[in-house]
Each structure stands twice: as structure tokens, then as C-alpha cells.
């Protein structure tokens, strides 16, 4: 997926130029009425919207401008830390409309589904149209996800909306091949473990680190590295005397990066000239439940070249997927573990593939 041109402004959006709540409602009311927007000089983005109307081409029913936005005031309140479209004023025309399209779609979906979580999972799962994997959101924060380049998502979402004049958006975003809607399910694998490495670029005295830091284990006869643990995020690191660190136990890419930074900071505080270089994720593990029992003996007969099933050794079936290069452990209860991925998208892609294979083995 090509990174969208709007990948850059992400950091600036974390500072919200507009306050939330009361003023937002006032602003929403104002821009619901196109003429009020023009009259109100305080709104900086009135110039952006006046030629097209508040939401431009996205009003499904011109006579009922409220329908698309009914949920908006409600959503704006519920989404703590999320951006209202008001904040996107400094972006160009194209970008704001793209994002509003996403926001409007999202707001349309959310009332229909379980509103319990604001996480990506809730955003990903409901419509079951391949929205999830394609969003490619590395962050779980809403603010980031709004802005993440997701051309295909926007393209896919737009046909669902009962408007014909979403074409301007379609022409902007290139079409990327997506998995067909029928194969996708509402299940999203949950990340359980991420392994990453960093380089501190300085030699370390392991004995001194083990002496002066509380949360460490060091047994040079058994293993030539210090084992250090931190509580938040709950992770473990292996610190080698060459200055390289292996960090395990995080449940997301950002947490892994934060944990690695904390370990580097601990070493720094101990007096070593540590830097934070070459952060790289080497392994990601995810798991989920397909919900139905699986005949492992049948599966190994059908896909012999990929499967390894030895009940005498291990109760699960080991499926070595070639593309993406991920190892999948499949159990009779329907629980699936995916490991060996370098990116989150690989886990999702592997699960899509394995789900389509497992569906064949569902009885009845």
C-alpha cells in the first residue's frame, strides 16, 4: 500500500488546536448550516468548506443534512482524545475531505456495533469487509488511526455509502488489491508478544549493571547476559556486553519501542553512554479463536506439504505458510496461534489465509 501524502502531519495533530465539547457542538451546528459558516468569521476553515458545503459531496440526502451527522455530536463526546473534523483545518482540501469521509463512515458504523471499546478492534471488526487488515494502523490511538493512509479502505468504504458523488475521492486514491469480502470474518488476531532488538552502541559492564540495578538477574556461568525486567510495559530484556539488547513481552509495536527506550534509559542512568539505535522488530506472535472444532487429521491429508501433525509429540498441527512466511499452530478446539511475522499485516494476512482453509474443514 503506498504511503499516503498525509503521513507526515500526524505529529502535529496530537496537539489539538481546537478545544472539545461545548465549542465543538457550537461549531458543528454552525457548519451544518452552510450560510452560517460564511457569516462566522471565527471559523478558519469556512473558506475550505464554503464552495462545497459543510461536508461537501458526502451528504447523502441534501434535504436532510442532519442524518449523516446525527451521531456526530454524540461521537465527538465519546471519543476522548479523538479529533473532530474541526481540527483538520490546516490540511488541504483533499485531505480534510478524505478524513471526514473516514470519520463519517466510522461514526455510521459505531452505533451499529458494540460501542464498548474505542480500540481499533472495534473499528476493524464490525463491517466484516476487510476493513481491519487494510487499515494497517500500527497505533492503537484513535488520533493516529484517523490519519493513517488507507487508500483502499476509503475506496472500499465509499461504495457502501448511498452516494454517487464520492468519485472525487476514488480518483485520488489508487486501487490496491484487497481480499474479497466473502473470505473475511469478524475475527481479528490479538498480538501476544513482540520481540525486538536495539543497539546501544557502547560496551557495557554487565557485573556493574547487575549490581546497581534492582530488576536484574545475572548468572555468567549459565548465560552471558543480564536479564532485566520492567513493570510498565511488562517486558523482559536480555542485555549483552556488546551493547545490544533483545526486548520481549510487549503486546504492540509501540509498547515494544517504549519498553526498549526504557531499558536504554536505565542503562544510561547507570552511567553508560547509551544511545538508541537500530530498533527492529524480529518476531510477532498473535492468537485467536475461529470458534469451531477442526479435524486435524483431515487437514494434514489435504495440505501435506505445509502441515506437520504429530499427536505423539504435540497436540497441535504446525502449518508453515509460505506467503506470508508465518508459522501457524492449529488446535482441535479451533484456537490458532500465528508466529514468525515481522509486521502486523503479515499476521492478519496469514490469518485470512488460514481461515479460508479451515472453513473447508468445518463440519455441517
Amino acid at each position: 500500500m503506498p504511503p499516503g501524502p498525509w503521513a507526515a502531519p500526524t505529529s502535529t495533530l496530537t496537539q489539538r488546536p481546537w478545544p472539545m465539547d461545548e465549542e465543538t457542538y457550537m461549531d458543528l451546528d454552525l457548519y451544518l448550516d452552510p450560510w452560517a459558516a460564511q457569516d462566522h468569521p471565527a471559523l478558519p476553515w469556512s473558506s475550505v468548506f464554503s464552495p462545497v458545503g459543510p461536508y461537501g459531496a458526502y451528504i447523502p440526502n441534501p434535504s436532510n443534512p442532519g442524518t449523516a451527522f446525527n451521531s456526530y455530536p454524540v461521537e465527538a463526546k465519546e471519543k476522548s482524545g479523538s479529533l473532530s473534523p474541526v481540527d483538520l483545518s490546516f490540511l488541504t482540501d483533499e485531505l480534510t475531505q478524505e478524513n471526514k469521509d473516514q470519520n463519517v463512515i466510522r461514526s455510521k458504523h459505531e452505533p451499529e456495533e458494540n460501542p464498548k471499546t474505542q480500540s481499533q478492534q472495534s473499528q476493524l471488526s464490525p463491517s466484516g469487509q476487510g476493513v481491519g487488515p487494510s487499515l494497517n494502523c500500527s497505533g492503537s490511538s484513535n488520533s493516529q488511526s484517523h490519519l493513517h493512509p488507507d487508500d483502499a479502505n476509503a475506496v472500499q468504504c465509499s461504495p457502501e455509502k448511498p452516494i454517487s458523488n464520492s468519485l472525487p475521492l476514488a480518483s485520488i486514491t489508487p486501487m490496491t488489491p484487497m481480499t474479497p469480502v466473502s473470505e473475511c470474518c469478524g475475527i481479528v488476531p490479538e498480538l501476544q508478544n513482540i520481540v525486538c532488538t536495539i543497539n546501544l552502541a557502547c560496551k557495557l559492564d554487565l557485573r556493574e549493571i547487575a549490581l546497581r540495578a534492582k530488576n536484574t538477574e545475572y548468572n555468567p556461568q549459565r548465560f552471558s547476559a543480564v536479564i532485566m525486567r520492567i513493570r510498565e510495559p511488562r517486558t523482559t530484556a536480555l542485555i549483552f556486553s556488546s551493547g545490544k539488547i533483545v526486548c520481549t513481552g510487549a503486546k504492540s509495536e509501540e509498547q515494544s519501542r517504549l519498553a526498549a527506550r526504557k531499558f536504554a534509559r536505565v542503562v544510561q542512568k547507570l552511567g553508560f553512554p547509551a544511545r538508541f539505535l537500530d530498533f527492529k522488530i524480529h518476531n510477532m506472535v498473535g492468537s485467536c479463536d475461529v470458534g469451531f472444532p477442526i479435524r486435524l487429521e483431515g487437514l494434514v491429508l489435504a495440505h501435506q506439504q505445509f502441515c506437520s501433525y504429530e499427536p505423539e509429540l504435540f497436540p497441535g498441527l504446525i502449518y508453515r505458510m509460505v506467503k506470508p512466511r508465518v508459522v501457524v499452530l492449529i488446535f482441535v478446539s479451533g484456537k490458532v496461534v500465528l508466529a514468525g511475522a515481522k509486521k502486523r499485516s503479515e499476521i492478519y494476512e496469514a490469518f485470512e489465509n488460514i481461515y479460508s482453509i479451515l472453513k473447508v474443514f468445518k463440519k455441517g
Binding site: 546497581r212 530488576n215 504492540s252 526504557k262 536505565v266 470458534g291 472444532p293 499427536p311 479451533g334 468445518k362
Partner: protein, 414 residues
């Protein structure tokens, strides 16, 4: 000059190899006596006696093969002979060993691993010919650990890119049951416990098939299921005398080891049989329990296909509807609601699912807290300092360490 040879005529050591019309001869250079002639191979000095030399010793094929590989190949042949495998298996196993040995990883492996490799090659050969050899048997023969064996086995299958079929359950039943010592009366086996092999075999096979159909075999070690099934089969053939005998006693009688999971497999199988018995009208009134159902195993097996269909609901369809309901309502669907939906019968048809799905989950899988971590947050100094020892603590720790080391190094008083 060839070593060790002496001319039989003049007893000189000056023997020269010479060829006479392209036939190599050993000739004494003093008296001209021909010591040896016309022998194609002169590998051994006592070839003067024109003794036969075996092909493998004369061709030098073993000179190219390292001693450890030779030892391994010999081990492969020995294991095949101990297991009384057909001779074709021997050659295939030897070929696999040689193939494996060509990889540097295997050549440089420890002796323990090479020993285990022998077992792996034999196992793969047996599997490919549907010969029911279990890993447990091989490990016992090699005095090897199952962990080491499993690691080497997985590695070699991947390395050689082999397609190894699954263990054939029917063949395993036949081999395993044939090893029982129950078919003839003996001092340890009273007459009432003796059973006919064919009857026991056929009933055990039916019970194992039933277990396979009702999800008791998938993902589990096959042998304990067969132990439990053969025990039930044996009991049901003469229940009046044998109901008193327990699984452990049965194993001792039959002279086999009791695998640990066999008792839980037995309970699961009895549970399945009880559910099936509820579908037969004349058994419903009897209100059977896990002991009394054994008497009617014959009848149940006779109608097993119909009974399984009626006794169990399709678990897969149920799981799907449960899944959808859970997603829609956001709460767990209770089993009682499904039970009530069945109506009159107090015990609704059970779900046909693997036992691991029927048991309640051990821990509630809570949805993880939504973290809004960006990875670039500020790390406060206080947070890092909580992990560091104060200078006083460092001194105390060092003192404690020194004291500990001194204590361990103090020599015992004489």
C-alpha cells in the same frame, strides 16, 4: 616393496610386484619364484591362501565412509532386525541415514543426536510403509529422551523434505492388542479372563473408531485411547466376571504398561457410551451409570452410527450460533438456554465437540485494556530511578554477596 611377504622357496623378503601379460604377480627377485598370481584383490596379506574376501570389505566403499557413519549404519540394521522388520525396510532406512549424513549439520552433531538419528530413520521408514511403530517404542529401544528424539525427528523431516504419513491407527490397534498376554490361560491369567484374540480385536477397533468420531482422538496421544478401548472391549465380552477388574489390574494381566492418560480416556469413552445409551428405549429405563453401561457395549456398538447421530448435536453449528450471539450481545451465552430450547427431554443432546471445548474455560479471557501508547512518550526520571539501587543498597548488597561467598568457601572443620 610389499610388506610382510617372504618367498616360500628362498625365504627372502625381496618380493616385487610385476605383471606378466597384464596379470599382476608377486615375484621373488632372488630366485624368481612366483609367490602369488591371478588374484584380483590383494587387500589382505593372507590372500596368499586365496581366501575369499567379501565384497563390502574389498571394494573400499567403507574407506570413503567415516567410522561414525559406519557405526550408525550398523545400528540402523541392528534396530531393524530387533524390531523384526522386513528386509526392504532395512535398505530404505540405511538410505535415509546416508542421505541425512550428507548434511553438515548431522555430520557435526553429537553422538547422542546421531544415535537418535538412527531411530528417526527407522521410524520414517516404518511410517511410510504403514508399519505401526510408535515413538515411545523407539525411544525405549534407543534409551533416548523423547524431547531429544522429537527435536531431531522434526529437523530431519524438514531437512530431507520428506512426506511422512500419520500413524495408522487400525494397524496400531492390531499390533498393540496382539501383544496382550490374555489369549491363553496361565498361572497369572485365570480362565475367566482369557479372551479370544479376534473378538477382542474387532470390538476394540469399533470402540476406537467411535472415539475417533466423537473427537476423543484428535490432538491426543493414540496409545492411551487404544488401552482404554481394549479394556472396555475385554470387559464387555464377559461383564459378569470382569466388571470387578480395574484398568490397572487389566494392564498387569495383559503384561503392558498403563499409560497415564488412559484413565481419563476411559472416562470420556464411557461418557460417550452413556449418551448413546440414552437414545435406546430399552436402556433408558434402566438408568445406566458408568459401570452398568459396560454390559450393553455390544448393543451400542452394533447401532453406533445411528446412535451417534441422534445422541449428539452438531457441535460446529452450535459454536457458530454461540459465537454470533456473543458478538451481538456482548455477553456469554449460557448453556442452560440451549438446554431449555430442546423442550421435554431433561438431558438435551450433548454437543459433539472435543472435550477441551466442552470444559469451562480455566481463566476468563479478559479483553486487554486499550493502550494508547505511541512509543515516543516521555520517560520520567522517577520511573527509571525505581529500578536503580541507592548507593547504600549497593553497599549492603555487596556485603551480603561477600558474606554469602565466604560462607560457601569456608572449609569444613576437621
Amino acid at each position: 616393496m610389499p610388506g610382510g611377504g617372504r618367498c616360500p622357496d628362498c625365504d627372502s623378503t625381496e618380493l616385487v610386484e610385476d605383471s606378466h601379460y597384464s596379470q599382476s604377480q608377486l615375484v621373488c627377485s632372488d630366485c624368481g619364484c612366483v609367490v602369488t598370481e591371478g588374484v584380483l584383490t590383494t587387500t589382505f596379506s593372507d590372500e596368499g591362501n586365496l581366501r575369499e574376501v567379501t565384497y563390502s570389505r574389498s571394494t573400499g566403499e567403507n574407506e570413503q565412509v567415516s567410522r561414525s557413519q559406519q557405526r550408525g549404519l550398523r545400528r540402523v540394521r541392528d534396530i531393524c532386525r530387533v524390531l523384526q522388520l522386513p528386509s526392504t525396510f532395512e535398505d530404505t532406512a540405511v538410505a535415509y541415514y546416508q542421505q541425512a549424513y550428507r548434511h553438515s549439520g548431522m555430520r557435526a552433531a553429537r553422538l547422542q543426536k546421531k544415535e537418535v538419528l538412527v531411530g528417526c530413520c527407522v521410524l520414517i521408514t516404518c511410517r511410510q510403509h504403514n508399519w505401526p511403530l510408535t515413538m515411545g517404542t523407539i525411544c525405549t529401544l534407543l534409551y533416548a529422551d523423547l524431547d531429544v528424539f522429537s527435536g531431531t525427528y522434526m529437523q530431519i523431516v524438514k531437512l530431507l523434505g520428506l512426506d511422512v504419513p500419520s500413524l495408522c491407527l487400525a494397524e496400531l490397534v492390531k499390533t498393540y492388542c496382539s501383544s496382550f498376554k490374555l489369549f491363553q490361560a496361565s498361572p497369572s491369567v485365570p480362565a475367566k479372563y482369557v479372551e479370544e484374540k479376534e473378538k477382542l480385536l474387532s470390538r476394540t477397533l469399533q470402540l476406537v473408531e467411535l472415539a475417533d468420531e466423537t473427537w476423543l482422538v484428535t490432538g491426543r496421544h493414540p496409545l492411551p485411547v487404544i488401552t482404554a478401548a481394549s479394556f472396555l472391549a475385554w470387559q464387555s465380552l464377559q461383564p459378569s466376571h470382569r466388571l470387578r477388574c480395574s484398568l490397572a489390574q487389566f494392564c498387569k494381566l495383559a503384561n503392558i504398561d498403563l499409560p497415564h492418560p488412559a484413565s481419563s480416556r476411559l472416562q470420556e469413552l464411557l461418557g460417550v457410551l452413556l449418551r448413546m445409551a440414552e437414545q435406546l428405549a430399552w436402556l433408558q429405563v434402566l438408568k445406566l451409570d458408568k459401570r452398568s453401561v459396560v454390559k450393553y457395549i455390544g448393543d451400542l456398538l452394533q447401532h453406533r452410527h445411528t446412535l451417534v447421530r441422534t445422541a449428539f448435536r452438531d457441535g460446529t453449528a452450535e459454536m457458530e450460533t454461540q459465537e454470533k450471539e456473543r458478538q451481538g450481545q456482548g455477553e456469554e451465552v449460557e448453556n442452560s438456554s440451549l438446554g431449555l430450547s430442546q423442550g421435554k427431554r431433561p438431558a438435551s443432546p450433548a454437543l459433539l465437540l472435543p472435550p477441551c471445548m466442552l470444559k469451562p474455560p480455566k481463566r476468563i479471557c479478559s479483553t486487554p485494556a486499550i493502550s494508547t501508547v505511541t512509543g515516543d512518550e516521555n520517560i520520567s526520571d522517577s520511573e527509571i530511578e525505581q529500578y536503580l539501587r541507592t548507593p547504600q543498597e549497593v553497599r549492603d548488597f555487596q556485603r551480603a554477596q561477600a558474606a554469602g561467598q565466604a560462607a560457601t568457601s569456608v572449609p569444613n572443620p576437621p
